[in-house]
Amino acid sequence: MELICPAGTPAAYREAVDAGADAVYCGFRDETNARNFPGLNFTRDELAASIAYGKAKGVQTYVALNTFMRAGSQKLWYKAADDAVLLGADALIVADLALMAYIVETHPQQRLHVSVQASASNADAINFLVQTFGAKRLVLPRVLTVADIAALAPKVRCELEVFAFGGLCVMAEGRCSLSSYATGLSPNMQGVCSPASHVRYREDGDEMVSELGGYTINRFGAGEPAGYPTLCKGRFHIADDEGYAFEDPVSLDVMEHLDALRDAGVTALKIEGRQRGKAYVAEVVSRLRQALDATPEQRPALLAHLRRLSEGQRTTAGAYEKKWR
């Protein structure tokens, strides 16, 4: 299986290449991609230099253009696609149907990957995208079990890529407007979720309160580490209970299912984390590279170390295991 690694900066790109990535994915410095954070992402020149660095080492570059084109501003996305093709991207990762259509018409030779944001979660949906736009690969939403994926793979006419490690969307990707409900800014439209610009921490007696858009997302007691207020990983009050209503502050780790995913027919494993620093990227990529190449017996020792890098130091296999539902 290929290892697809994140890069939010040229430095992280080089670390990912050097640490053993098969491909690196990245985006331009604007709302055309779903990690539109301040100080992150690539200028055209940076992407050109990075692609050259990758090519010299036999590593592919995927460019994420995975937000939905804002009505009336489609040119921004079309130009980003044109530039990515011109600069030599090996694949474009796309969610918007009209952007897929544009790429097929304008750059018929360009390899197209369907983003997780497109939310194609079954064989008919996937084959529709393959047939209509010639998609070569599809990134599966985090809503399927390993068994579901194994049942799906023989029915689809393209490669499948799955998220294996890093941040975990609890909600089906590309279909969530929780963030814009609280802040006005959403993954689909602005490429951000629970944006830092709308985060506030305040002390209330002994407790630290984290807020998003004025809504309390969590309260932390003295000595409890205060986490980032990602909306779907907050603590809420429901009926007579208080707790993590949707998901605990955990991150995704499906490395225990590596062989099952390979047997299921998965082509590529994706690491989330374009917002992460280069040291994190280097560490995660090299560990996962070793784990992929190791025997199942050698793997647990390699992965134990990796878990310490995870958000809140707790991980889940998420929807890949049936009991998570």
Binding site: A125, R175, F236, D241
Partner: protein, 308 residues
């Protein structure tokens, strides 16, 4: 004004209601003169289907006999083989036009007339035009879209009807996991249909007691009810042809009457708003998405008149 009157549609009941209550709700809707079209079906969770399935033919027939345009919605998220089969069967065998709510239904419906529901991402005119060329006759836009986008999209596909979500709690997210079942200590696979206990959803408050969200099975909705009343002239001017009322656990025939009265200029939006508060009490209203801001926010009609 282009002379076309905004038509009023009723979207699918998002919640799990008892089958007979569901049937009787629609029998009342059949007698409501203000509703022009009704989209039926279970959009949120395939496990609920058997509650309404026995009544759907009777309900659709009754609505059609009353002169309503009837359509059947496909599910918003299709993951299991059983759900894929149900979607294929709906597309192949439905006696009524089908509203596509995921990409599988959209693909299966290509080349023949169909509707597109709010769970298919249509964020720009190019996408709307493409869907229209593949057979979409009416597209219900997702509630996250601001008016500026609605104007652009409708203008890009003038032959297509467009529907805008004008009343109801906002569908904000859907998950493979059932948060509703989890609150009662169950998993999705052994959910005991606990969402039936909450016919208007289950409130999610913040730890500081702010009303925030609503659980509806695997779907997360807003706590607020979106209401676009003062916005109706702008929607009509944009070329929108239909407004969608999403059923809440209140008298939806009365809700439709209020929307018709405001649309027809019989009462002003402020009075309409007051009447809606009486019909659907205890739930704050929102219209922020339409105005390109925080979805939960409410921009009053008076504030909308102030030039930017």
């Amino acid at each position: 004004m282009d002379g076309r009157t905004l038509r009023i549609t009723l979207g699918p009941v998002p919640y799990l209601w008892d089958g007979e209550a569901w049937r009787d709700f629609y029998f009342r809707i059949a007698d409501c003169a203000w509703i022009d079209a009704v989209t039926l079906g279970e959009v949120v969770c395939s496990k609920r289907l058997h509650f309404t399935q026995p009544f759907i033919d009777a309900v659709a027939g009754r609505l059609a006999n009353a002169g309503k345009e009837v359509s059947l919605a496909s599910m918003a998220m299709v993951t299991l083989e059983r759900e894929a089969m149900l979607t294929r069967r709906l597309v192949e065998a439905s006696p009524w036009p089908v509203e596509a709510n995921d990409l599988s239904a959209l693909g299966l419906l290509s080349g023949r007339p169909h509707l597109v529901g709010p769970f298919v991402n249509v964020y720009n005119g190019a996408t709307a035009r493409m869907l229209a060329s593949r057979g979409a006759t009416r597209i219900c836009l997702g509630p996250e879209l601001p008016l500026a986008s609605v104007v652009e999209i409708v203008g890009a596909a003038p032959q297509t009807d467009f529907e805008v979500f004008a009343f109801g709690r906002l569908p904000l997210a859907i998950s493979a996991r059932c948060a509703h079942a989890r609150t009662k200590g169950n998993s999705k696979d052994n959910c005991q249909f606990v969402c039936q206990d909450d016919p208007d959803g289950l409130a999610v408050d913040t730890l500081d007691g702010q009303s925030f969200l609503t659980l509806n099975g695997v779907q997360t909705m807003s706590h607020t009810c979106q209401v676009l009343l003062a916005e109706l002239p702008a929607l009509q001017q944009a070329g929108v042809s239909h407004i969608r009322l999403s059923p809440q656990h209140c008298d939806m025939a009365d809700v439709a009457e209020v929307f018709a009265a405001v649309r027809d200029g019989q009462i002003d939006p402020g009075e309409g708003e007051a009447r809606l508060h009486a019909i659907y009490p205890g739930v704050p209203f929102s219209n922020g998405f339409h105005h390109g801001t925080v979805g939960a926010s409410w921009i009053s009609a008076a504030a909308q008149e102030v030039p930017a």
